[in-house]
């Protein structure tokens, strides 16, 4: 028996060595493939963007669209305006980002919590989530003025009042998508993973912390991929209706009203930059936190 044991011992070792070599190769291949894909997905849009910019600056774009440099100012002029007004722009960016990020965080935390509640009471939980998903159809434009009215008495300071109203609008838009996705993340478990926990007599809390929460992480990012852009859009739109005049969205509107199209474009550019930046941060966080998981 001792002999047989020793003889077979060598078997898995060989397999190990071979296995290791092949997985290293596979990894290298995967990395190279990913890089090539990533380069392509970035390169094409960037090239297209540069092309549009060139056409724009050389006024070819104006001829195509049949417009003039007053309504559609040249990129160089827009950039100039941004550099000349850094302090004012920063003040407005700050107001918008606080509303967007604040509402995003509040809404996502509340949504995640609602997902937990729905999971804990499965009887009406899934029904409740279906009803909640109907709320996604409610347009921001409709709720923003209503919330402005509702928050009238919350503070004597119109600045704070407006901030609250705007944050609430953003919060509502973010709550719904997070609660739906969190609920799915808690309940859409791989087959038998719950049985595995049961076989160890794991408590509900343990199952929640060791199985449901980690299982929900990719779903959180699914929700955030929707709600990060949505939070910025609803922040910009809710500024339109706010009592206190501040924020990137509001400045776009004010500038258009005053026919200062170049300034309006400057703020539009800034709004785009905020959106791209927040989305980039999200993607980086997702890459770090979901590292090691199979790509969905």
């Amino acid at each position: 028996m001792e002999n047989g044991y020793l003889n077979t011992e060598a078997g898995p070792l060989k397999i190990n060595a071979a296995g290791e070599v092949s997985t290293k190769k596979a990894r290298a291949r995967k990395k190279a493939g990913l890089n090539k894909d990533a380069v392509m997905t970035v390169l094409y849009p960037v090239l297209f963007g540069i092309l549009v910019l060139v056409l724009w600056q050389t006024q070819v774009l104006h001829k195509i669209l049949g417009t003039d440099t007053f309504t559609l100012p040249l990129p160089g002029r827009i950039i100039n305006i941004i550099f000349e007004n850094v302090p004012a722009i920063l003040k407005n960016v700050q107001a918008t980002v606080i509303v967007a990020v604040g509402g995003l965080l509040l809404g996502s935390v509340l949504g995640y919590f609602l997902g937990i509640v729905a999971m804990a009471f499965p009887k009406w939980g899934s029904g409740g989530i279906s009803i909640a998903s109907a709320f996604t159809a409610v347009p921001i434009v409709a709720i923003a003025p209503i919330l402005n009215n509702l928050t009238k008495d919350l503070s004597d300071d119109p600045h704070i009042r407006s901030m609250l109203a705007k944050t609430l609008v953003v919060m509502i838009t973010c709550t719904v998508s997070m609660s739906i996705n969190a609920y799915r993340g808690f309940t859409e478990l791989k087959p038998f993973s719950l049985d595995l926990m049961k076989s160890y007599a794991a408590s509900k809390t343990t199952i929640f912390l060791k199985l449901r929460v980690p299982n929900s992480l990719p779903y959180i990012f699914t929700a955030l991929r929707v709600s990060v852009p949505a939070s910025i859009i609803s922040a910009l739109v809710s500024e339109y209706f706010a009592e206190f005049i501040i924020g990137v969205g509001r400045q776009i509107r004010e500038s258009i009203v005053l026919a200062q199209y170049a300034t309006a474009w400057a703020y539009i550019l800034v709004a785009c930059a905020i959106g791209i930046l927040m989305y980039a941060i999200l993607l980086i966080a997702e890459g770090v936190i979901l590292k090691g998981r199979r790509h969905r």
Binding site: M1, N3, G4, P12, Y200, G292, R294
Partner: protein, 277 residues
């Protein structure tokens, strides 16, 4: 080479042998499990009138064609599936009580690994739940990964492993717990012949040192005869026991036993008791 030396260390005093009285005999009486048909047709008789006695520390294999209820029987013993009629008693207790005492170790038919955990942390997971101290957990994880030949893959994630490697992680995870009752559902089915034979010997060694009760589901009659004290043959539709074959081959068994007359006549005996395949 170094690793090979390390693997030969005798872990026998380490594998969780017990001084306490093991009350892990299993008595199954008139057990039936029916699954209602969702489309309103006749219910599926996964198991019908099963009577089986498994002694404490016995190594029992379940063989039978696909769909004959092997997994269902294992799940019912583990309290993951409720019987429609009949009872199961494990050392005088119900499966539920044994489950709550955390005495089961299960290797599922498809390895149920948590994709967000590395191989090491997957093996570690049940020990975390049972509150085994960290240094001990680390020691056992290393030991079990060496046993299944995956020591160098501890930092990888499940999706980076082959199916057979994933299955070995599941085996390491179940063994690391040192369960009193080990339920294994086709644990070696995705493995190559080399690895399989090594693990057969390892499993036999662990079993004889620790005297745990093992119920082992397999499609391979050879594997069942080699490992078991008793081979239970199941037949499908409805799932029932068609034969129980005692394997009285001497222990410990080496691979050379497979060439003996006795071994092969037992294999034939089990094969001949298959019904309606």
């Amino acid at each position: 080479m170094l690793r090979a030396k390390k693997m030969n260390v005798d872990y026998s005093k380490d594998l969780g042998s017990d001084t306490e009285e093991l009350k892990t005999g299993i008595i199954i009486e008139n057990l039936s499990v029916r699954f209602p048909d969702k489309n309103g047709g006749d219910p599926v008789e996964a198991l019908q009138n099963i009577n089986l006695e498994i002694k404490p520390g016995e190594f029992v294999s379940l063989v039978g064609p696909s769909g004959c209820g092997k997994t269902t029987l294992l799940r019912t013993i583990a309290d993951l599936q409720q019987p429609t009629t009949g009872t199961i008693s494990i050392g005088g207790l119900t499966p539920r009580e044994i489950r709550l005492q955390q005495k089961f170790g299960i290797v599922f038919q498809n390895p149920v690994l948590y994709e967000w955990r590395t191989v090491r942390r997957n093996v570690c997971m049940p020990m975390e739940i049972m509150g085994i101290p960290k240094p001990e957990r680390t020691r056992r994880v290393t030991q079990m990964l060496e046993l299944v030949g995956l020591y160098n893959f501890g930092k990888m994630h499940p999706h980076e492993l082959s199916g057979g490697m994933q299955q070995r992680v599941g085996i390491a995870r179940a063994l690391a717990l040192r369960p009193k009752i080990l339920l294994m559902d086709e644990p070696f089915s995705a493995l190559d012949e080399f690895t399989k034979e090594k693990l057969h010997l390892d499993l036999q060694r662990i079993w004889s040192k620790t005297k745990k009760t093992i119920i082992f589901v397999t499609h391979s009659i050879q594997e069942a005869v080699f490992l078991s004290d008793k081979v239970v043959v199941l037949s499908p539709h409805p799932g029932r026991i068609s034969a129980v074959v005692d394997i009285n081959l001497p222990r410990p068994r080496g691979l050379e036993i497979k060439d003996t007359m006795e071994f092969n006549s037992l294999v034939s005996k089990v094969r001949n008791s298959f019904e309606g395949v």
